[in-house]
């Protein structure tokens, strides 16, 4: 411990003690603190409510993300493929294409449901099939490069 610094600290504290009353201010309006407490309590309640809802929404987040992706892809496909450069026509084409989006979303949802229902045997069978096809690909690659 630095003795000089300790002494200096004590000296500054002493000087501060002499002047601290000068720096004091009259207290704020009590209503400010009351209102602050009320606002905090209500914000905290809102925060807790929001947090409580999140776990319930979590399963839907994946579906919402998929839907957003499909709509975005569809929109860009329509914009790129649209015969007209008129923004209004592009939007009309996009709205028409939403019918396709709905069927795509249904297919996506259905396939997701089916994959959940698959039993473990089926999954391992799929994994085995995937492994075999990868092995075949490597073999053909090796024959091409003459290994």
């Amino acid at each position: 411990m630095n003795v000089e610094q300790d002494q200096f600290e004590r000296e500054v504290e002493r000087q501060f003690a002499e002047l601290r009353d000068r720096l004091a201010i009259s207290p704020p309006d009590p209503a400010l603190i009351d209102n602050l407490g009320i606002r905090l309590a209500s914000e905290a309640a809102r925060y807790r409510k929001r947090r409580g809802r999140l776990p319930a929404l979590r399963p839907l987040l994946g579906a919402a993300a998929a839907l957003t992706l499909i709509i975005t892809l569809n929109m860009s496909a329509v914009v790129v493929g649209s015969a007209s450069s008129d923004p209004e026509s592009v939007v009309i084409d996009w709205v028409r294409s939403l019918g396709d989006t709905e069927s795509q979303f249904t297919r996506l949802f259905e396939s997701e449901r089916q994959s959940r229902n698959q039993n473990l045997d089926e999954q391992s069978e799929d994994a085995g099939g995937l492994f075999n096809s990868l092995e075949e690909s490597f073999e053909s690659f090796e024959s091409i490069i003459g290994a």
């Binding site: 720096l23 201010i25 407490g37 914000e43 905290a44 807790r48 947090r51």
Partner: protein, 194 residues
């Protein structure tokens, strides 16, 4: 850990879970001191009221990041000082301001002078008080921002200088030297009035 600090720690943990009663307790315990710091740093009662509210709303949002290392006051007053500093910077960018070194008074925004209420007599004493306040404010205004902040943090956070140095991320020697300079200036302003 004594029973007081154990109780305080329990209250902080409840506040971390956004318990409304615990947060209200924090506002009651620290509201006036946070207000005091922000009032002296900004020179505006109105701004200090808004900033005090902002400080506690930020506490509500960020309290899960607090590490329960027994330094809640340092954590809270760092938020308060940062908000006041940002406010003053924004104000400085907008133009000259009373309450900052070398500035002019900006109407309606600054009331660091608390004018006395003359309805209850003793105008001479009130006048002297106003003059003393004016000197104090001028001395505060003429200080370097960091000197003023260290002094006011010592006053309102009630933290020792070494914790204020940690809070501001500066060496203790620097904090002490700046506080010493600020106090000297303040003392000289107060001596001039006698």
């Amino acid at each position: 850990m004594d029973s007081d600090s154990a109780g305080f720690d329990r209250m902080l943990r409840r506040a971390c879970r956004r318990d409304p009663d615990a947060l209200q307790e924090l506002a009651i315990r620290y509201g006036a001191r946070v207000f005091g710091l922000q009032f002296r740093l900004t020179g505006s009662r109105e701004a200090a009221e808004d900033l005090t509210q902002d400080t506690f709303l930020r506490v509500l949002r960020m309290i899960s990041e607090y590490r329960h290392d027994g330094k809640f006051e340092a954590w809270l007053f760092r938020i308060a000082a940062n908000l006041a500093r940002d406010y003053v910077r924004r104000l400085k960018r907008r133009g000259p301001v009373f309450g900052l070194a070398g500035g002019d008074r900006s109407e309606g925004d600054c009331d660091r002078f608390e004018l006395p209420d003359h309805r209850y007599g003793e105008p001479d004493r009130d006048l002297a008080k106003t003059e003393a306040n004016a000197r104090l404010n001028q001395a505060l205004d003429e200080m370097a921002d960091m000197d003023r902040e260290i002094l006011l943090l010592r006053q309102f956070s009630e933290l020792p200088f070494r914790e204020i140095a940690d809070l501001l991320d500066i060496p203790l020697g620097t904090a002490l030297a700046r506080a010493h300079r600020a106090l000297k200036r303040l003392k000289s302003a107060m001596d001039d009035e006698n």
